[in-house]
């Protein structure tokens, strides 16, 4: 097997959102900066704000909502300095994205977490890193390699399991993924494990049969001895307007309880999750901030909002209303 360089030996560290996200500055951010540096609030400012949001993959519907709120606030507070809009915008985004409870549900014994998403969104990697964190926190973890479709997917998860110190339950290539999930949960229950994470094959949400298979995996997982606590849809931060449809379709097939936004350390801003939150009321629970083992961390609405609108130097904990 190839040497697994993306499974580093370094210990988990506390990721710093700001520094991670600051790596990739988009030129839209610069354009926004230029517009906000103008002496007075004018049509050009609003246009630049709109472009910045659209350029961060925020849908035009949500963009309009946000700008409407901002216009009202700007006229209420008689704002004339465009620079003040930045923090208002960040606050509006943070309000939208904030969820009362974004912690992962560990109530079952074992607690079963199902991971779903399109191909290449980062399911296996997210599970690997999360398993590492759970094991480091003293929990016993079983990984279920229910991606029996993609060539070498089981090997990839096995490499992660070994690194994290988790058990792996796999199946035959082309085998029934629901059976793998059931076996893994039964095994975990018998062995007294705390958490079972089920990796599923990436599938495009437009494929009815595969989405049906996912529903079956869920049904079977519910029948196993543990408790299905989370079904997390993995969304790639570089995904555009398609993210909303993905979240909706996976939600219909598997009953999604939250989202994981991956690859946020890249240049993608993940603006499409605003629609996921606004239209589906699905909260983002975790984000992937880098390639290190400790880089899957709880979602922070204020930090996310600050990064989205490029509010460098503004206290991310400033909230509106």
């Amino acid at each position: 097997m190839a040497k697994a360089r993306d499974v580093p030996d370094e210990p988990p560290r506390t990721p710093r959102w700001r520094s991670r996200l600051a790596r990739a500055r988009s030129n839209l951010g610069e354009r926004l900066g230029a517009a906000l540096a103008r002496p007075h609030l004018d049509a050009g400012t609003w246009e630049a704000l709109e472009e910045a949001l659209l350029g961060a993959d925020v849908s035009w519907q949500v963009t309009e909502q946000l700008l409407e709120r901002l216009r009202a606030e700007a006229s209420d507070q008689r704002i004339d300095d465009p620079a003040e809009l930045r923090s208002l915008l960040a606050a509006a985004v943070a309000d939208l994205m904030d969820a009362p409870d974004s912690a992962l549900d560990r109530s079952g014994s074992p607690a079963v977490w199902l991971f779903v998403g399109v191909n290449g969104s980062g399911k296996t990697t997210t599970i690997g890193k999360l398993a590492h964190a759970e094991v480091a926190a003293g929990r016993r973890v079983v990984l279920a390699a229910a991606d029996t479709f993609r060539a070498a997917a089981t090997e990839q998860l096995a490499a992660w399991a070994e690194r994290a110190g988790a058990h792996l339950v796999g199946g035959e290539p082309g085998g029934d993924p629901a059976a793998v999930a059931f076996d893994a949960i039964s095994h975990a229950a018998a062995a007294g494990a705390d958490v079972v994470m089920i990796d599923t094959a990436g599938r495009l949400h437009t494929n009815h049969n595969l989405m049906g298979e996912l529903a079956k995996i869920r049904r079977v997982a519910e029948r196993a001895p543990g408790e299905l606590c989370e079904t997390l849809v993995i969304l790639d931060a570089t995904t555009g307007q398609n993210g909303l449809v993905q979240a909706r379709m996976f939600g219909e097939a598997a009953g999604v309880t939250g989202a994981v936004l991956t690859k946020l350390d890249g240049s993608g801003r993940g603006g499409s999750v605003l629609s996921v939150r606004a239209e589906l009321n699905v909260a983002v629970k975790l984000v992937g901030l880098g390639e290190g083992l400790g880089d899957v961390v709880p979602f922070d609405a204020a930090a996310f909002a600050a990064a989205l609108v490029d509010t460098e130097g503004i206290d991310p904990h400033v909230r509106g209303a």
């Binding site: 097997m1 190839a2 697994a4 360089r5 035009w60 980062g122 350390d265 993608g268 801003r269 603006g271």
Partner: protein
């Protein structure tokens, strides 16, 4: 693919058509709607602005209201602009005079490089070449293993070793020379970030193997970042073209529309499914037609050609002609259903059809999951019943239902749907009669086969259908406008 954009633009044009004459504010409104449709399709913000500006100035220059059908003219302008934005001509792949032709694949993590490498290898094989795959992605756990499994499926050799990416690539090239392989496809590692280390690695591999083609593998679902990713790779390694992956989802097509304008290189291939064969050349003109709901019969016909060879192909084309002419029987219907599977399934075929026909087919109850039951029902009919469904009475219906394990209601529904589909195809048939497309390969210039709406004799929905068909028959804008400006028609069933 592109359903969302297609649907949104279609709605804009429908509103324009209802207006007849167009006032300047109608155009402004339509432009705003087009902008939203493009933004919702993930087209780069800058590209959307340019697109809008060009359509606006073209529309002003065209003096729309002198045309008898201003809305059609707008459609034509948008079509031309789409083709232009998508990149004009399809890219052609040539081969190095001294083999092997070296291809380097680069891209972000999760974009589908490894799968694209295998698909590309299969495509080269279908062109009579003998490719070698080089697994230089030593970063992702089991990436080389994945490549080997895929390569075994298509019987293409793989070279890899656990040294370093540059050494593997160089050795792979030497191995290809030794084995006499004439195409080398090098799969490289992706990263989550467009970062310097990744670029340096790809650049080093490029310098070592001097590729003839460097392709960026790009996930079609990527949003606004597509432009940025494309630019970064282009400036780092010099791209020749892009391979778009996962176009089979409901990818919005934004990347396809943005790449040419922002990166300046064409899209060469599109990956349109999970199977290794689901890989197509990228044809801007055909895609533009598809986006505007005019279908892509040319690609469908090519697929049909590839699926059936020899005499069987001729029979299939004949059956297809009967379908288009509206004289098909339940036997043809059955045969079509079976062939549809070979063609990649109903969904794929519908995606290539003009939107009007596709939606009619969907409304008529043609749904992939029900095809199996429908097949069983038809198989339970006698030959006489299949030829003349009208003779099926209550008693026959009960027998057929019992034989196929369905209910009489389902049998009745199938018969109703069949008769509706036949009627639909009949009304869609060109007035010039059954189209004999013999001898006209590919695009056929439009002749006198336009449907003329027949006044008040038809009910409203039939008239609407005819109108839609007319637009399909004639490329956008050809209907009633000055001669001399006719673009080639994208829609015709090619003969054999």
């Amino acid at each position: 693919m592109f359903e969302a954009l297609s649907g949104n633009l279609g709605a804009v044009f429908d509103r324009l058509r209802r207006k007849g004459r167009l006032r300047p504010e109608d155009i402004t409104e339509a432009l705003g709607e087009i902008r939203r449709a493009l933004l919702a399709a993930d087209v780069a913000v800058g590209v959307v602005g340019e697109f809008q500006d060009r359509v606006r100035s073209e529309a002003l220059a065209a003096d729309l209201n002198r045309a008898l059908n201003p809305a059609q003219q707008v459609v034509q302008i948008v079509h031309a602009e789409l083709v232009r934005t998508l990149g004009g001509e399809a890219m052609s792949i040539s081969f190095a005079p001294r083999p092997p032709t070296v291809v380097l694949l680069a891209g972000l993590q999760g974009s589908g490089k490894t799968t694209a490498a295998a698909k590309l290898a299969r495509w080269f094989r279908s062109q009579g070449r003998s490719p070698l795959l080089v697994g230089a992605d030593l970063t992702r756990p089991a990436a080389v293993e994945q490549l080997r499994v895929l390569a075994r499926e298509i019987s293409v050799p793989v070279f890899s070793e656990t040294t370093d990416p540059v050494a593997v690539s160089t050795a792979g090239l030497a191995e290809a020379r030794r084995l006499g392989r004439d195409v080398v496809i090098c799969d490289t590692a992706g990263r989550q970030v467009v970062d310097d280390a990744l670029m340096a690695e790809v650049r080093a591999i490029g310098e070592a193997i001097q590729p003839h083609y460097t392709f960026l593998v790009l996930d079609a679902m990527v949003g606004q970042e597509a432009a940025r990713v494309g630019r970064s790779f282009h400036s780092a390694v010099g791209l020749d073209a892009v391979i778009l992956t996962k176009l089979d989802g409901d990818a919005r097509g934004g990347a396809a529309l943005s790449v040419r304008a922002v990166v300046g290189c064409p899209v060469a291939f599109a990956s349109v499914g999970e199977r290794v064969g689901d890989f197509e050349r990228f044809h801007p003109d055909r895609l533009a037609g598809r986006i505007l709901g005019m279908g892509d019969m040319l690609s469908l016909a090519e697929k049909a050609e590839a699926a059936y060879e020899g005499r069987q192909g001729a029979a299939a084309a004949d059956a297809a002609e009967r379908v288009l002419a509206g004289d098909f029987t339940l036997d043809d219907f059955l045969e079509q259903m079976r062939q549809m599977r070979k063609l990649g399934g109903l969904g794929d075929v519908l995606a290539h059809l003009p939107s009007a026909q596709a939606s009619q087919a969907t409304e008529a109850g043609v749904d992939e999951r029900r095809l199996g039951r429908m097949e069983a029902i038809i198989c339970s009919m006698t030959p006489a019943e299949r030829a003349q469904p009208a003779i099926i009475d209550g008693s026959r219906r009960r027998r057929i239902a019992a034989g196929s394990g369905t209910t009489t209601a389902e049998v009745g529904e199938l018969l109703r749907n069949f008769s509706a589909a036949r009627k639909m195809m009949r009304s869609a048939r060109p007035a010039g009669g059954r189209r004999k497309a013999k001898g006209s390969k590919g695009r056929k210039g439009r002749g006198a086969s336009r449907v003329t709406p027949a006044g008040g004799a038809r009910n409203r929905s039939a008239a609407q259908l005819l109108e839609q068909m007319e637009e399909l028959e004639s490329p956008p804008g050809t209907g009633e406008q000055p001669p001399g400006s006719q673009p080639p028609g994208p829609l015709s069933w090619p003969g054999r």
